[in-house]
């Protein structure tokens, strides 16, 4: 009886036809479908928040930036032509949002990660022991803002110096010098 009942339930008509592929969701979001956009947000949120957090060095600001990123993505999604992966496009928007803030606002308050702030890193797994990863994240968070941004973009996100220079309005030589400085400071912090 149970098998018969299952057989009756499982018909072609009863199977949802949605695929929820990224291209599908993007197409629907471009047509104004906010539910599709919400799913895109949930797919991309972790990566966007991570890059915002590491460049900004402050979880509260990173959450604000993440909101800004997705609002901007929603406002401009019709211009996305699929020439790159949607995730790459969103990531680039995220980097531009955070760097734009750094460039124009030059916040007066010094952003440092407090002991409470680093708890944000407790929620994800790492290949290393959690303590070691938190120490590393803390050390990255304590780097000077420009050096930290360049370090995150180059060593974690994989951008090239010419790309970073273009995004930050700096010469490649400057980004390279700042990267080397960041690595030196990071090593000193981790080995002290």
């Amino acid at each position: 009886m149970f098998l018969e009942a299952r057989t009756e339930e499982l018909t072609l008509e009863s199977i949802p036809r949605t695929t929820n592929s990224e291209a599908d969701l993007v197409h629907r979001a471009q047509s104004g479908d906010r539910d599709a956009f919400e799913l895109l947000y949930r797919q991309q949120c972790g990566r966007v928040f991570a890059v915002c957090l590491r460049i900004a060095g402050n979880p509260a600001r990173a959450e604000e930036f993440t909101q800004d990123v997705f609002v901007r993505v929603w406002e401009t999604i019709s211009s996305f032509r699929g020439e790159s992966a949607f995730s790459s496009w969103v990531h680039r928007v995220a980097v531009n949002v955070v760097l734009g803030d750094m460039r124009t606002e030059r916040r007066k308050s010094v952003r440092v990660i407090t002991a409470e702030d680093v708890s944000v890193y407790d929620r994800h797994d790492t290949r290393e022991s959690p303590g070691a990863a938190i120490d590393l994240e803390r050390a990255i968070g304590l780097l000077p803002s420009q050096a930290r941004a360049i370090f995150v973009l180059h060593d974690i996100e994989g951008y090239r110096h010419d790309e970073i220079g273009e995004m930050m309005g700096l010469a490649s030589g400057t980004t390279k010098a700042q990267l080397h400085r960041a690595r030196k400071l990071l090593r000193e912090a981790l080995e002290s």
């Binding site: 104004g32 539910d35 956009f37 797919q43 929603w74 060593d155």
Partner: protein, 376 residues
């Protein structure tokens, strides 16, 4: 090059941005200078830790409600749109549902969905950001898949990269190294994960320079797998599947079906399909010794060949003799032991009887004494 010159270039060396000659100068200095080698290793260790950081971190709260409020109401009714097109079914999550007070079961369900989505996005991030390696044409027009490469292209997992007689290419190994691809070479990207960067070299020649910790970069050939142990090397594969490995910096392991050779800088090792890696030897080994080893490893072998090898080995060939300890017949092991002990006496605690019965601890102790213990 002095230490200061080398230290000034270690970052660029690690990033693979030095010109070939300068890179070789730094590699040579690092090989000779323990202090600079340690410095580079410390830098590489931190780089590896940074590489292992997750790309995905979830915020402490759900940001969607605030985003949803900011982007305003939907331009048109989703329900009517979906009904009219008849193509898409319902989407499982919507803001109205999330805004309602949640029961424990629904909280659990949402947490499960978010976990799955997070796992999916980690997978996606991995697929998009790490599974494509940059290919740069150095000469001519290499081919990626079926497309000729003018300047640069991306190599995806599963893609083939091929050079003809007039082309060369440079391949970035994720962010852990680079591979120069010589003419008439065919290789395929098999895997690109943080802990497993893997290509198949079907034929031709590659020069690999890896600045990551050991065992992150693998090259599969028809006759062995080359495992990077922190090094630079050249690997050549012939059309019959035989290969020749030449290590220029650090160490490389060659493995096949439980047979393993460890090859240090300055040494070479040959492999054959169906057999695996042969016995490694230094590149300055006498021609007679290399011929004998080839016959021992891939030919008929026999006691006479072993006699010749034992006579031809020099003190520097302790590497070769140590490998032979586990490759000769039990009845022949004593002769190899005696020759090796004569050239490089075993440390205290390592006995002839122990080695003859294949005591792994003693073999390891001896390898430590010879300077390659950390890899065995």
């Amino acid at each position: 090059m002095n230490c200061q010159d080398a230290k000034d270039r270690l970052n660029d060396y690690m990033d693979g941005t030095l010109a070939a000659k300068e890179r070789e100068n730094v590699a040579t200095h690092v090989r000779m200078c323990p202090a600079c080698r340690r410095e580079l290793e410390r830098m590489q260790a931190i780089a590896a830790r940074v590489q292992a950081l997750p790309r995905d971190i979830q915020p402490s709260k759900d940001l969607w409600p605030a985003i949803s409020d900011r982007i305003g109401p939907s331009e048109r009714s989703r329900t009517s749109q979906l009904t009219n097109t008849g193509v898409h079914g319902p989407i499982p999550l919507n803001r109205a549902r999330i805004k309602q007070p949640l029961t424990w079961s629904s909280k659990f369900a949402i947490a499960a969905v978010i976990t799955c989505v997070a796992a999916g996005s980690i997978w996606f991030a991995t697929q998009t950001s790490r599974t494509t390696w940059e290919v740069a044409a150095l000469e001519g027009m290499p081919v990626v898949g079926s497309d000729r490469v003018n300047a640069s292209a991306r190599l995806k997992v599963g893609d083939w990269l091929e050079t003809d007689a007039a082309s060369r290419a440079k391949l970035d190994v994720g962010m852990i190294g680079e591979v120069e691809v010589e003419p008439n070479t065919r290789l395929r990207l098999l895997q690109s994960a943080a802990t497993d960067h893997r290509i198949a070299l079907a034929r031709g020649t590659i020069h690999a320079t890896i600045w990551a910790p050991p065992r992150l970069f693998f090259v599969e050939t028809p006759s062995a797998i080359a495992v990077d142990l922190g090094c630079a090397y050249t690997l050549q594969v012939a059309d019959d599947g035989a290969s020749l490995l030449h290590v220029t910096t650090g160490w490389v392991a060659l493995e096949l079906a439980g047979r393993e050779s460890i090859i240090p800088a300055g040494a070479v090792c040959e492999t054959r399909p169906g057999i695996g890696p042969g016995t490694p030897y230094y590149e300055d080994a006498p021609e007679a010794l290399t011929r004998s080893l080839r016959e021992f490893d891939f030919g008929t072998g026999g006691s006479d060949i072993l006699d010749a090898i034992l006579q031809q080995t020099r003190e520097r060939d302790a590497l070769t003799l140590w490998h032979l300890l586990t490759r000769v017949e039990d009845s022949e092991r004593g002769r190899v032991y005696d020759r090796l002990a004569g050239l490089a006496p075993p440390p205290g605690g390592v006995t002839r009887d122990g080695i003859l019965r294949g005591d792994k601890t003693m073999l390891d102790q001896w390898s430590d004494e010879l300077g390659f213990g950390e890899f065995f």
